[in-house]
Symmetry: C2
Subunit: 214 residues, 2 copies
Amino acid sequence: MSDKREHILIEAEKLFGERGFDGTSVRDIAQCAGVNLAMISYYFGSKEKLLESLVVFRAEYAYGILEELNKDQSLSPWDKIDRLIDFYVDRILNNLRFHNIMYQESTAVRSEEIKEKIIAIKMRNLDQITKIITDGQQKKLFRQVDIPMTVGTIMGTISSYTQSRAYSCNILAIREDTDDEAYRAKLSPRLKAHLKQVLRAHLDIRNEDREGKD
Amino acid sequence: MSDKREHILIEAEKLFGERGFDGTSVRDIAQCAGVNLAMISYYFGSKEKLLESLVVFRAEYAYGILEELNKDQSLSPWDKIDRLIDFYVDRILNNLRFHNIMYQESTAVRSEEIKEKIIAIKMRNLDQITKIITDGQQKKLFRQVDIPMTVGTIMGTISSYTQSRAYSCNILAIREDTDDEAYRAKLSPRLKAHLKQVLRAHLDIRNEDREGKD
DNA sequence: AATTCTCAATTAAACGTTTGTTTAATTCAA
DNA sequence: TTGAATTAAACAAACGTTTAATTGAGAATT
């Protein structure tokens, strides 16, 4: 992929993440990327095709990481869960803008083609995580859980703090105009600690549902 | 509020939820509500003011429920958590469209005024849930947890299955064109069961973090 | 009781922008 | 000299909003 194409994609990603797909005009993208308006159609064909290119461009990476994590025999299932959380929190917080587009595919995107691509990516990633959890169950470390829902809990918890920055800043007790890096530095460890605590309790076979709750 | 005003709000809610705020034109709303285009400006002033009216219209209800749940002395903290989950799953699944707008306030809404209103509502609801959890902690039933993050887990888990219907249908193994009621009937009990299992393990004081994980 | 008056409700049409995309001309390195 | 890269300009369509005219039911006046 040419440098210029990639540069346009990255600038578009920023804008889509900040203002949404509909809220971003092709003129905005062209201006931020420092290219002529017509170059977007020239390179990508259309605004929707640009989004499709962006999805493909970003999606390849994640799957490779998950696959590698899965294969690593030196890590226990518990280690893998921790790494999984670290990976997703870091990845989402570092690609905030892109994640917001991928995550809420239903409202932002009208193209069936892109929707199907996004779902395929999500299902593929779910497969990898399923392998990690079933492995932990076979080793009698994890109990029975609803795996897709558990993945939803991980992704959803992170997303609930990336989809509305203003609320997030309120919770973290920081100014809303805090720069991205400082924002991540505050949010990341807290999200990781919370998610690990939740999943440790949720997955641990010793926490099987008790009869009486109190 | 006049019948016609309310009728326009409800139709707008459907469209915003399906197509997003930017993806819905005032002409769409007028047509679906069966009123003249100019009536939207006449009643609400502008498209953004319409959204603001919608937020106010829908937000009052939730707070009342949470307040009442909190005051109920006959319920144990565990019961209240269960009721909380039931309430939120039902509420969000029954107002899918509206929830998606509220939830992703950052991208869809440009008006600072509306953003502030939404955040105020979220913070107010967080206060009520905080009271429920701290009460459980004082009664030595719940352990120490990150309360705002825990609320994020509840809302995020639900949202991850409401923001992208196509993915959700894939997980539930149902056709994507399944009608709303059948969709809810499948999703609702599964979400509730999962969230209750997660929160039971997460909050239970007997599941205090152990030294070794395995 | 019949008429006029009043004003909110409703309408079709037009407003000026902004949108995504295309055209046709130009640049420029190979 | 060739052809891809780049440009400014123009395109039609859709957008949110406003205008000015019309309707129609209830209050006031005769």
